[in-house]
Amino acid sequence: MAKGILDYELMAMRLTNKEYENMTADKLKSTIQQIYLEETGSLLDADIKIFHSSDTEDSLINQTGYNGTAIYIDDGNQEEMYVISQGTTNGPDWSFNAKGPLAGESIDQPQATDLFVEQAKNKLGVDEDAKVISWGHSLGHHNNAEAYLGYGTFDEVYGMNGAQVNAYQLFDMNIDFQKAVIEKFKVRNDADLRQRVSADELEVFTKEFFKDESKNIHQIISSDDPLNGLTPFVPGMVELGQIEVVDTNPDVSGIKELAKDIPPEVIKDVQDLALIYAKADNAGGTKEVAKQLFGVNMDYLKDVNSFGSFLSWYTFNQGEFDETVKALNKSVPPLLDKVRVVLDNKDLIFGRLQETGYISLKEKDTMIEELELIESHLSTIEDGLNANSSLSGVQFLQDISTVAFGGSLVWIKSSLTSSIECMKESGFFESLNKIVASHSIPELLAAMSKGNKSYFGTDMVYTATNGDPIKVNISAALRMYRETLPILEEKETKIRNFEKAVKEELDDSYKDEKRKVQDEIDRMESSPGSYRDLLAKHGHLPAFNKEMKTIKVHEVFYPLENNDFDEEIHELKKSVESGKLYIEKYRKAIEDLFDEEDNVSRLFDFSRRF
């Protein structure tokens, strides 16, 4: 990778993960500055401009679901634009990744990526020759890499646990590539390519064709990343570029080992089942699962607790019964099929999960036990449904399978929840979360420790070099140091304003009032004649002949009391000083943990300069 301004792998990883927070342009700028400082030890002296995809007026970009940020940097020597494309982060989403865009169908988001880059270049005034570098995690990398290979959107692509590109999509996007494929395989259209050329052959050719471009694609992938584990199962999916594989979870043997020999269609069914469960569970916990899974209105079954009550419900609430049967007819067979596929392969699936260290023996046994229980009840319901469709009402009631059907329906209502609870309590699902965590950037970062530097989340952690190996979250320390000063300064300003207010409002207005009274006194003393009417009460016209000769006022002004805030203001000022002192002491304490050559002191100094 040619050196760019932000061309450091760890910077890319940390900023790409931070970009998910959709922060304001100013906050992102200071985040870039801080991460640059932490990674390089020096200040980033450059002009930074930010443009987010939600700021475009173009509806097309946002409607495809594309989300990204363009960062323009000019350090005086070179101009560059970095484009971070967001991927999908949560559990069920990566599974959707594999089904939707990665199945070689939609090119919506790569299109949106190109359009966004074009708009960002215009808005930020990026020079034609400026290098455009893309960073992306998960689906974000897929979008970036396809835009690069299909449209030439970028100069460089850097991916983290990325979804790979699809050769069938590239065939329709890049006409040059299309020509080469046509020439090589003598195919003449899309269907021809799918039918007559094996996906493996196409993948090999794709790698060869994009050999030069591959030099500009860099990827870091966790060997435990579940998305990466799926790559071999998706026809046409090609891993391109210089790839660095990192074992981010050494406790398990990696996703490829886990998926080995398990037929792709079984993996797909497991995925589907996990997805159905995740969706139902998201909707409102275990209690909602039954409703979500079967589409049955559980209120109808409120009073159905035994076979007797089932019969009376069936007899008196035919409408509800029919609706329930209809829902079950739709939901049970496909669900049952998947449960059966999983159970048919139970030793392979759960056995492998256990062998590779993802789950415990107990978790494995509980899962199989509960799934078998669910399977038997669902089978009974399916049998009952089959009978119901061929029998009339009375016959259905007399049919032997009805008894079992009712029993299983009662079980679904009352015991399915506890069956699912059992699975949950076994810790199985938590264990599976380990798999999903391996798709994240923080787990990649955690595996990237170097010397006394390591990572926690997206923060940098230093391990103390003086004395005990104390770990210090240096990012958090710098943030605190940096962000406290403005807070203390603001406090100082407020105290000054308060001091001023006390002076103005109390002292000054006291003086003002005193002056007004004094003025009046002066006026009375200097022209007593005009106060003659004050003597009115001493006589009446026309006999009134009194005159005012002099007025002498004996004034006493009491000093203003309770106006002394000096003490309080002093205390407030002291609190600012002690805040500053505390922060400096904190800084000093951290610095003391490290040798001088760790340059921690410089980090603190620099952190206040952006």
């Binding site: 299109q111 190109d114 074009e118 708009q119 449209y151 259209n189 899309d190 269907a191 021809d192």
Partner: protein, 202 residues
């Protein structure tokens, strides 16, 4: 529509009652076709999945299964080609619809980048009002020709097309040349027939 039978869309009709041509016999393609009444000989009106444009669809072609409408109908990809894989010449249309592209310079640039060469777009008079059509012929080799096109209207809706025209391997160069010329005419007719559907859809 004069009677009840004709008001059925092709996808609702019994395949036995449909014209015996690939466009109607292929289940997916049938869904795109508006009616069994031809617009001109051998062509039927195709309505895009997003209901945003129509074109004259050749009866001997079929729509590829990867064709699809994008999120919220703001984009669409439509791919179709001759059903007969052994045809002397094979045309494949790769059509991309976008609900909004800021300016045509961007589109030309994107098409150039996709083609890997500078395309020489020439404006073609459009029969459809308020629509702009430009077509470029790409450099071709002996057996393969490419035609690129941009259709655009004042609402900034846009359609970008790449069409490949490929002779069967065993066809002599001379014969291939004349076959390709013939196909270019047909392709150009289809491109000219593209019309934005301003009344319906997004």
């Amino acid at each position: 529509m004069s009677n009840g039978k004709e008001s059925l869309s092709p996808s609702e009709m019994d395949p036995k009652d449909l014209p015996d041509v690939p466009a109607f016999q292929d289940e997916l393609t049938r869904d795109y076709l508006e009616s069994t009444e031809s617009v001109r000989e051998g062509y039927y009106t195709l309505v895009s999945a997003t209901n945003t444009f129509t074109l004259d669809f050749p009866e001997d072609m079929v729509v590829d299964e990867t064709s699809m409408a994008g999120n919220e109908g703001n984009s669409e990809s439509l791919i179709f080609y001759y059903d007969d894989n052994d045809a002397d010449v094979m045309d494949q249309f790769i059509i991309n619809y976008y609900s909004s592209i800021p300016n045509i310079e961007y589109s030309r640039d994107l098409m150039n980048r996709r083609a890997g060469e500078e395309l020489d777009f020439k404006k073609v008079p459009s029969e459809n009002e308020n629509q702009h059509l430009e077509i470029a012929e790409m450099d071709s080799d002996d057996s393969t020709s490419y035609i690129a096109a941009i259709v655009r209207n004042e609402k900034k809706q846009e359609i970008q097309v790449f069409t490949s025209i490929i002779c069967r391997e065993d066809i002599e160069n001379n014969q291939c040349d004349s076959l390709k010329e013939e196909e270019k005419e047909k392709v150009s007719d289809v491109l000219k027939s593209i019309q934005f559907n301003n009344d319906k859809g997004k």
